[in-house]
């Protein structure tokens, strides 16, 4: 009873709170147009533009969850910031569509090689391109990690301990949740907390999950999702069109394009698009970073900067460091201890679908609806360590066809299964797979259009991984059967992508410290998901943004690093 009262009290306090502090911290939602268009193009046209020879305070590689958040924080703090983004500056009105196949351009489709015993397909599921990065097409589930995630080595004997605690990250979680903003029911798992915005209504898929979970005695909740429930700034309410994974044309689902980029631009940051970083430059002795080399319009440029942050995600960040080898770092920048590119993680994401006589029509609401973290932590009665979460996923026809084809159906069999589409409810698990040194990004012999060696990502599961995935499958099948499914089918797949430049207490165990600063090059930061030492069973976007929020606060509090070139000639 007391617990429920506390939940109600914190929820009330949050939901009635003023938005003024949020707007002062990050006015992005109020800088979007309120005329029915989705991005103020004059912000792009009037963007401050630096010269390559301007030694800016900070150059960031990549404008996704990590890069855009850092750009906003540092520009807001008065730093001169250039963010290099390989993809375009999206115009959601004209360049995004409510269509699966038509959204192919949202993904990173430059060539990559996948290998290992359990290779991980890339593309739509775990990569992004353009301003906003993969937050443009992420589902929008934004759960926090649990306090237990930060010490799995000590507590469970697996994974790695983080150099920071959950408590270090809590204020950052709260700030980012307010800015996305997050809607959802009071969250009872991990560090219990409330959300500022009410949960969304659920569609057929979410209804089935709630019904099945209740019947099976499993707690499930609506949310947390980065989708506005009611107006937020100039962002409108969700219209439940179901195409969250194709980029939100409504501006209801948060992506950093609309949650952080507008405020970054308003504070003088430059987002330089179609700029593909090729190497990080250092001084002759390799003591500090001096800028970033990049290709734009077929020509090579070098943006000079006093601080460099890499935010290219778990494949491109290690690849860039490895491609930046120099005399001081012959095996790749920051790679003195052979850690760059290692411990890359994906979550096991089996999907279980259940067949119902009634019409589910799962496509009619955001795919992220209902979630359970009841199986998140290590359960001493189980034979495996750590755990999984269960969430709704609502495959659209092409994705569903791949699901059905993966069951071995083809020809008339496939067509007839597909005609049953509206009767299926689908759940997906996120299984915490363990970090392993052999799961890594290396450079292949093949080169891409830019002349750079492409990434080879090798991935193999361990026994604990397989046990967690099997357990998740059983739970999802139980939930769907408890809800009345007459048939269940499960396919194995992966989701998300983190690690590759893990953070640690010291240089022997990680590439960066808890403030995301690299051990080897003091003015080089890594500000994306590649720094995660473990991944928990939570979707990573919120944690990436929270880590960057914290790192940005540490950066602004400290002195501006690096040597300043003599004044003159710059746009400052």
């Amino acid at each position: 009873m007391r617990r429920h009262l506390a939940a109600a009290r914190t929820t009330l306090a949050l939901t009635t709170g003023s938005q003024r502090a949020i707007r002062e911290r990050n006015a992005s939602a109020w800088l979007l147009p309120d005329d029915g268009s989705r991005f103020d193009r004059t912000q792009v046209e009037n963007m401050r533009r630096f010269d390559d020879n301007d030694e800016v305070d900070l150059v960031i590689v990549g404008c996704g969850a990590g890069g855009a958040t850092l750009a906003q924080r540092m520009a807001h703090a008065g730093w001169s910031v250039v963010c290099l983004e390989a993809g375009p500056f999206w115009d959601p009105d004209t360049e995004w569509v409510s269509d699966e196949a038509g959204s192919h351009h949202l993904y990173w489709t430059e060539p990559r090689v996948i290998s290992g015993a359990d290779p991980v397909p890339m593309g739509s599921n775990n990569s992004g391109r353009g301003v906003g990065g993969s937050t443009v097409h992420f589902a929008g589930f934004v759960p926090r990690l649990h306090p237990s995630d930060f010490s799995t080595r000590t507590d469970d004997g697996v994974g790695a301990d983080w150099p920071i605690r959950y408590e270090d990250l809590r204020p950052s979680y709260e700030r980012i949740e307010q800015e996305l903003p997050v809607a959802g029911q009071y969250w009872p798992w991990g560090d219990p907390h409330a959300y500022r915005h009410a949960p969304h209504p659920v569609g057929g898929n979410g209804e089935i999950f709630l019904r099945g979970a209740a019947a099976a005695g499993i707690e499930a909740r609506v949310g947390p999702v980065a989708i506005t429930n009611g107006r937020f700034g100039n962002r409108p309410h969700c219209v439940y069109r179901g195409f969250c994974l194709q980029g939100c044309k409504v501006n209801a689902k948060g992506s950093t394009l609309i949650t952080h980029v507008p405020d970054a631009l308003a504070h003088g940051a430059e987002i330089r698009t179609e700029a593909m970083a090729t190497a990080i430059e250092t001084d002759a002795e390799g003591r500090y970073a001096t800028g970033v080399r990049y290709l734009r319009g077929g020509r090579e440029h070098l943006q000079r900067a006093r601080t460099v942050a890499v935010a290219g995600y778990a494949i491109e960040t290690p690849r860039l460091l490895l491609n930046s080898a120099n005399r001081r770092f012959p095996e790749g920048l920051c790679n003195d201890h052979d850690l760059v590119g290692r411990y890359v993680m994906v979550q096991g994401a089996p999907q279980t679908a259940g067949r119902f006589t009634q019409e589910i029509r799962a496509y009619k609401a955001p795919p992220p609806e209902v979630s359970s973290e009841a199986f998140y932590e290590t359960d001493p009665t189980r034979a495996y360590k750590r755990g999984f979460s269960v969430q709704t996923v609502s495959p659209l026809p092409i994705t569903w066809a791949e699901h059905v084809a993966a069951q071995g159906h083809w020809g008339h069999d496939l067509r007839r299964y597909m005609q049953d589409y509206i009767h299926w409810a689908t759940l997906g698990a996120l299984c915490e797979l363990l970090p392993q040194a052999g799961n890594r990004v290396t450079l292949a012999t093949e080169r891409d259009r830019y002349g750079l060696p492409v990434a080879d990502f090798s991935y193999s599961q361990c026994d604990n991984d397989r046990a967690v995935i099997a357990a998740a499958r059983t739970v999802m099948e139980d939930i769907l059967r408890a809800a009345g499914a007459t048939e269940v089918i499960t396919i194995e797949r992966y989701a998300h992508l983190v690690g590759g430049c893990r953070m640690a207490q010291d240089a022997e165990h990680g590439v960066v410290d808890g403030d995301l600063r690299s051990f080897a090059v003091p003015n080089l930061l890594i500000t994306d998901g590649s720094v995660l030492p473990t991944q928990g069973a939570a979707n990573p976007a919120l944690t990436i943004m929270a880590l960057v929020d914290r790192a940005a606060a540490r950066l602004t509090a400290g002195a501006r690093a690096g040597l300043r070139a003599p004044a003159g000639g710059g746009a400052r």
Partner: protein, 223 residues
Amino acid sequence: MPARRPPARRTVPSGEAGRRFPGFDVLDQADAWDPATAATVLQRLQLQPDLRFFTCAEEACAGALLDLLLAQDGPPQRPEVPVLQMIDARLAETQTDGWRYQDMPEDGDAWRATLRALDEDAADRHGAPFAALPAEQQRRLVQTVQDLHGKDWHGMPAAHVWSLWTRYACTAFYSHPWAWNEIGFGGPAYPRGYARLGVGARERWEHPDADPRDPAADSQERT
């Protein structure tokens, strides 16, 4: 707003009867779609670009393979989703998914190699190219590839070959509004959105399933 519904026929793709959602045509909703989405979807109903990637031999083999995989095997006058043309265009533009298995060539080369292998199997067993074989023999050859799972097939893991074929085939076929008609999918919904959420709920323009029995349960009864 000018009426955008194209004069295309109200139909489902060749091969199946469309008995689940008779009369449902997602294109009737085209006026409610935003212009960018409408342009993307309606383009699939227009004349597709001429083949540029596949050679004649590959065209014949791929055409037969895709008709089989997607069961577009109705009488000649039935409308077909132009899957071969759609895949040809993707390969010509190297519009890949951004990855390849280490033990497979790049997608375009992989398509050529697997079609050649299929023709070799057909020649070895039946003395004719794949496309010239009767449907039942084609079906058995394709089934052989699927049944190999992870084992080697002409120097490639069969499972990775199967993934290549079905991925490209499903992406093309189920991007087409005729396929949406067949499965009762409501399609794009911006800016209007969906208003009636929940189990058993339908927009007023969505059609109920005319035969909601489980087809899998059905086939179990039959066997």
